[in-house]
Amino acid sequence: MKTFSSLFNIHKKGKFGDFENKNEKNLLKIEELSNLLIFQLVKFKSSNFEVKKIKIDNLNLPDPLKSSSNSSTRILWMGPDNWLVISSDLNLLKQEEKKFDDKNFALTDISHSRTIIEIEGNLTDEVIKKGCPLDINDLKQGDCANSVYNGMSIVIDFISDDPKKVRIFSLRSFGESLHHSITDACLEYGYIGN
């Protein structure tokens, strides 16, 4: 079966906005990420299971408002006893699901229900500020946050500080709107669609 990424017909490659006479290094870079495994892990309220004992892809479950990551997998804190796992290893869920018995945990594959847009560049914070009320100066690599962007519920994963890079997740059905909002916010700085 052929699958299409959510921005397949929307995201365009090339240079856009006010990019002329600007150093290419300073332009924002926008990319859609697809072909990732995404699953949600929830520990039931009635469970006393000690989550510190568990690792996924050798990563601990992160503390509130934090992420933990290695080269293939990122785990984001979503709320109390609730995490989102994103991995380029598409077999990860199959390998790890034995660790989570269904008396204590719910594991849900939501790989096809999200749109992910990665933004890179010195002006990334400015783009986020245009639509999102988070106090962005305090958020650094290793942090993650649920919030809103122009009214859409999003998750922001702060990937790195140098170069500045973040990933924004929305529901797939909001992907086109989010892409439009983000690229519109980028126009005055100029951006490269990758």
């Binding site: 979503m78 709320g79 109390p80 609730n82 009320p133 988070l134 649920n146 919030s147 519920s153």
Partner: protein, 88 residues
């Protein structure tokens, strides 16, 4: 913009929250005979206080948790927020 301190996430903008109404209303006891009046009071009847009020809020575009807040309905000042399991 009004900032609300989620007990799980800290200070966040009001945009991320949904208002959940009076935080002091108690459901009639389970499996007990309930009169129409009691049920009516529980479902519909609310005071509209001026001053300090205990409210439910939902961090719907955040950690998705419900919590209680003590807010002044005249000044919008929020004095305190607490998890549902905690006293306020």
């Amino acid at each position: 913009m009004l900032n609300i301190k989620c007990p799980y996430c800290g200070d966040r903008a009001q945009k991320e929250f949904a208002y959940g109404g009076d935080g002091t209303v108690k459901r009639p006891e389970l499996n007990k005979e309930v009169s129409n009046k009691e049920w009516d009071d529980f479902v519909y009847m609310r005071k509209s206080l001026r001053g300090k009020h205990i409210e439910l809020w939902h961090h719907i575009s955040g950690c998705r948790q419900w919590f209680r807040a003590q807010r002044d309905t005249a000044t919008h000042e929020i004095f305190k927020t607490a998890k549902i399991s905690e006293e306020i």
